[in-house]
């Protein structure tokens, strides 16, 4: 059963068109000009209960806007979203109890107080009795490896500890749907890995649906079998990372280590020569021709070592974002 459904979801912002400087300000004051900016343009997808889906896209592609529409913080300008059987923008209590939103750059914990105080407030707001709240805090704290940090003022916690406490606060009511916007932002590698492991564990234990945006592709590769790539407000890809990489580059990377040096010209007929440094050769070969090419290489050359791999996905996506236009 689909727990998240987006149909032709769109959001257009109206922004003030103001020239810089005093003259521009005055002109703007007298005659306001506005410009419509389409942040999300007709995005459609469905997500099944229990799925972990990565949400990729460059800055300003519309990821956060989409998450905010799905969590009910902003109204769509067009199309429709349905989450857990509700229209998000109505923000009905029954809907709010089933979702959570974690934003890596904003925090809900009270700065001057230990996380435990904020957790107790959340427990009361969600109507949890003391025993349930204690049990859930204990379970989540254990999964997140949080201990005495919960009784230390938030301002004295490290960024990683604070993020873990934020996750605890966001999950206390056991939501079925998690919207995570850059939950590992600014964390060091170790802390990122722990947050990642926690999310995977949480998803396994509670069957929660997770929609996750991240700048760190490692988060996505580790957690999300399925990826939505949003580009210039539209959905560019919906499928596995592997499919995405073959779409972005329908080639595989063949690395050769030869017994004898060979000129680059010898390899042009097999594919795109990325590098040819005497004995070491890197070739981009079309997927359909891969077995044939490898067989011919092995038959005609003295090969010491041969390795076939996917081109690194970071590079492919980075290239896509830099190019801007997509075919």
């Amino acid at each position: 059963m689909a727990i998240i459904r987006a149909e032709a979801l769109s959001k257009t912002y109206r922004v003030a068109d103001k020239q810089p400087g005093l003259a521009g300000t005055l002109r703007h004051f007298v005659q306001r000009r506005h410009r419509d900016v389409a942040a999300v343009k007709g995005v459609s997808f469905t997500i099944e209960a229990g799925e972990m889906v990565g949400f990729l896209g460059p800055n300003g592609a519309g990821k956060t806007t989409t998450l905010k529409m799905l969590s009910g913080l902003i109204h769509p300008s067009g199309g429709m979203a349905e989450v857990a059987g509700h229209l998000p923008q109505r923000r009905q209590a029954d809907f709010l109890r089933q979702i959570t939103l974690v934003m890596g750059q904003k925090q809900q914990l009270i700065w001057d107080l230990p996380p435990l105080d904020s957790l107790r407030v959340n427990a009361a707001v969600y109507g949890l009795d003391d025993a349930t709240a204690r049990r859930r805090i204990a379970e989540l704290a254990d999964m997140l490896e949080l201990g005495e940090e919960l009784t230390r003022p938030v301002r004295k916690l490290s960024l990683g500890q604070r993020m873990k406490a934020e996750l605890l606060a966001a999950l206390l009511h056991q939501p079925a749907v998690l919207f995570l916007d850059e939950p590992t932002l600014g964390l060091d590698i170790n802390a990122q890995a722990r947050v990642r492991a926690f999310l995977a564990d949480y998803n396994r234990r509670h069957g929660a649906t997770v929609l996750l945006t991240s700048h760190y592709l490692a988060d996505i590769t580790a957690l999300c079998p399925r990826v939505l790539l949003i580009h210039e407000g539209g959905l560019f890809h919906d499928g596995s990372l592997r499919e995405l990489s073959s779409r972005l580059a329908p080639c595989r990377l063949v690395r050769l280590e030869l017994e004898e040096p060979r000129p680059a010209a010898d390899f042009v007929r097999y594919g795109e020569v990325e590098a040819c440094d005497g004995r070491d050769v890197r070739l981009l070969v079309e997927r359909e021709r891969l077995t044939e090419v490898v067989a011919r290489l092995l038959a005609t050359l003295e090969v010491r070592d041969l390795e076939v791999s996917d081109p690194p996905i970071e590079e492919l996506i980075g290239r896509l974002f830099r190019q801007g236009a997509v075919t």
Partner: protein
């Protein structure tokens, strides 16, 4: 019923955690008490100067005018305890985007924003103001009967509700004017007119303070009630104004939220 219980439990947690965090700043108590003493001394000196020369403020005796000052002090205490810490924080919540967290909680957002925290340092001001008002009312010859006490309490409640609603509406505008809106100062300036009986002001201001800014309902009307000389019409009007402003504040908040949720990024 279960819903009300949840709000009550939430409120206890709100204030419990607020007190816990405030206790780290004990020095605030001293500062607040000193500020109150300074303010009160200034107002008393002024009244003493006026009445010492045999003049009167708008037909009010010194003791009656002191009741008004007492109620003003009490309201200022309520502002320091509840209104300023909560409503003043709305602007910050809008600026930092943490309002989003409030909107995603299954609880009334106006309730959350209005009661989330508490600063106990305004309590001495509330007690002092109340004591001054009662003491001055007795000296002015008020006879404390059930009707007077009930009427006075009702009027005080109304004036707190009016002040809250006014403040909340002004704070709500920060949703549109995120940056440069220092609502608190505007309101404090207007409220300080409530130190003295409304009839002490020229006719133009009197109308302004009754019709546009309900300053009259904040201090003068409750003082009349405590002194036992308010007409039933004024009591009724005061309750009506309080109810209307509370309802207006709720409507206005929803209006602002509609804009926030359709425009924010």
């Amino acid at each position: 019923m279960a819903g009300l219980l949840r709000y009550w439990r939430t409120l206890k947690r709100f204030w419990g955690s607020a007190l816990a965090s405030q206790m780290e700043y004990q020095l605030n108590l001293l500062i607040e008490v000193l500020a109150m003493a300074g303010n009160l001394a200034g107002s008393l000196l002024l009244l003493w100067l006026i009445y010492g020369r045999g003049q009167q403020l708008g037909g009010w005796s010194l003791d009656a005018a002191l009741v008004v000052l007492g109620i003003y002090t009490l309201l200022d205490g309520v502002s320091s305890t509840l209104l300023r810490p909560n409503l003043g924080a709305i602007v910050t919540q809008v600026q930092q985007g943490t309002l989003d967290f409030v909107l995603l909680k299954p609880i009334d957002s106006q309730f959350w924003l209005s009661t989330r925290t508490l600063s106990p340092w305004g309590l001495p001001e509330i007690v002092t103001g109340l004591a001054l008002a009662i003491w001055a009312a007795l000296r002015a010859g008020a006879r404390p009967g059930a009707a007077t006490i009930l009427g006075g309490a009702l009027m005080l409640l109304s004036s707190v509700v009016i002040l809250y609603s006014l403040w909340f509406v002004l704070a709500t505008t920060s949703i549109w004017f995120v940056k440069t809106w220092n609502v608190t100062e505007v309101l404090r300036a207007a409220l300080s007119a409530g130190r003295y009986p409304i009839s002490a002001y020229p006719a133009g201001l009197r109308t302004l303070f009754t019709v546009v800014l309900p300053v009259a309902f904040l201090t003068t009307v409750p003082a009349e009630a405590i002194l036992g000389r308010a007409s039933g019409m004024w009591l009724l009007l005061s309750v009506a104004v309080a109810t209307a402003s509370l309802l207006f504040s709720r409507w206005f908040w929803r209006l602002a939220l509609r804009d926030y949720t359709s425009a924010s990024s």
